[in-house]
């Protein structure tokens, strides 16, 4: 559109999408300390006609791994998710491995979702070991043999970018993501470790500076065009 109103609309359109983007960048910052959080990028596409559309993309790159002293802390060092089941029976997928022993002695997430098919931790256990392939073993006392309690499953998706955001740091499968498929013989699981978020502070700040510049520039454009508009309307006055 080749008139003043069109310019104002494009400026407003750009300013509001930049503001949306600011919200997503802020969200990544807010989740900087969330375990296993994957940062979300708001990608903007400028069409030939000058209008903007946006798409959300999740960055599934590996977050850094921190060592903890809690034996139930599990990090995934590689691609994949741990399936967890809600109290109502719904299955979702998470990379936040800060587990605990919940009621009835089962291994659970922080918000009481069951890990895998249920791994019962005996309450008199001397030592719990989680192996890199996800098997959980227990020693009853320092001299006994290791007893297998169960396996923390690890699943992968054909297209993990197609996953949709679920509840509380979990993901849900969708048509675009494909079915979850169980990974066997892997060595991705690390005990006594937590994956931190993969939010890149420097990139986020650079992105914020860029969108701020664009937002201010578009607002300035709106002001310039508003002046021209005024002058065009009041062309009869000197």
């Amino acid at each position: 559109m080749n008139n003043l109103q069109g310019i104002i609309r494009k400026s407003v359109n750009n300013t509001t999408t930049q503001f949306d983007k600011l919200g997503y960048v802020g969200n990544n910052f807010a989740n900087y300390t969330t375990n296993g959080y994957k940062s979300v990028r708001f990608e903007q596409m400028l069409n030939e006609n000058g209008y903007l559309t946006g798409a959300l993309r999740t960055d599934y790159s590996q977050g850094s791994i921190q060592i903890t002293s809690n034996p139930y802390d599990v990090a995934i060092n590689g691609q994949g998710f741990i399936p967890v089941t809600s109290p109502t029976g719904e299955v979702q997928y998470t990379r936040d491995g800060s587990f605990k022993v919940g009621k009835d002695g089962y291994l659970m997430t922080n918000d009481d979702w069951l890990v895998g098919e249920g791994i019962k931790i005996p309450n008199n256990s001397y030592k719990i070991t989680i192996n890199p392939d996800g098997t959980v073993t227990s020693l009853d006392n320092s001299k006994s043999v290791e007893r297998k309690l169960g396996t923390i499953p690890l699943v992968q998706f054909q297209n993990q970018e197609g996953l949709i955001q679920g509840e509380n740091n979990k993901m849900k499968s969708s048509d675009a993501s494909g079915e979850a498929k169980l990974v066997k013989n892997h060595d991705y699981i690390a005990q006594n470790a937590i994956e931190s978020s993969n939010t890149n502070v420097y990139n986020s700040v650079a992105e914020m500076l860029r969108l701020n510049a664009s937002m201010i520039a578009s607002l300035r454009m709106a002001k310039i065009v508003d002046d021209m508009y005024n002058k065009s309307i009041n062309i009869r006055q000197s």
Binding site: L4, Q44, L46, Q79, A176, A213, A217, V225, M228, S238
Partner: protein
Amino acid sequence: MKLNAGVRYMDNGLITSLKAMQVQSALIDMSNDNVTGFDKVGYQRKEPVVSAFTEYLGTDGLSTTVDDKVGRLGNSGNPLDLALATKGYFQTQSAEGIKLTRDGRFKLDKNGNLLTLEDAKVLSSSGTPIKLSLIPSDLKDIVVNAKGGLSVFNKITNKLQHVADLGVVNTDGALVMNPEVKQGYNEYSNVSLQNEFLGMMPMIKAFDANRQMFMIESANLTKAISQLGSSS
């Protein structure tokens, strides 16, 4: 304009001023597109071309060319973000036909098709959509070299498996032999905001000047009509 009393007034003076104002606002519109495109991946600056006789033709005398200088490259870390460090375009195919773009933000779907963010298929140098037979669980296993060759690391054979060459073409439709594809980078336009805003100053001033001319002509015309039209 011919007044009733037979006085010839400046030919089309008012219209010429109005046309000039329209031309200036159309130029501002192009600058505004550049301002909007400033942080958009793959955007190329539009440059207005003011042809001869635009003072008579008005906005019909305007056209645009694309400034094809390579823009700012920024690291993104995503293996499927590709940028071209040379002149050229990726080819994409959608229901609307084949398009050229410098926006190299690609993704894979669950069948292994290489798609743009708007779900158009990315074409190879042989003109067919690129499809990965082996879908890697980690995007880091996808390697794109500077010539645009896309390969996937096969964990079973421990070798890079060649998939396709990206079809990078220039505006004539000919393949670019050495496209200098950068993996993990995005190209953030070639617009510089300060130049856009500085370039707008003369446009605004020209707009104001023509408005002033219009008002002077209008006042003169009013004066001529009222004086010549009075009976005394």
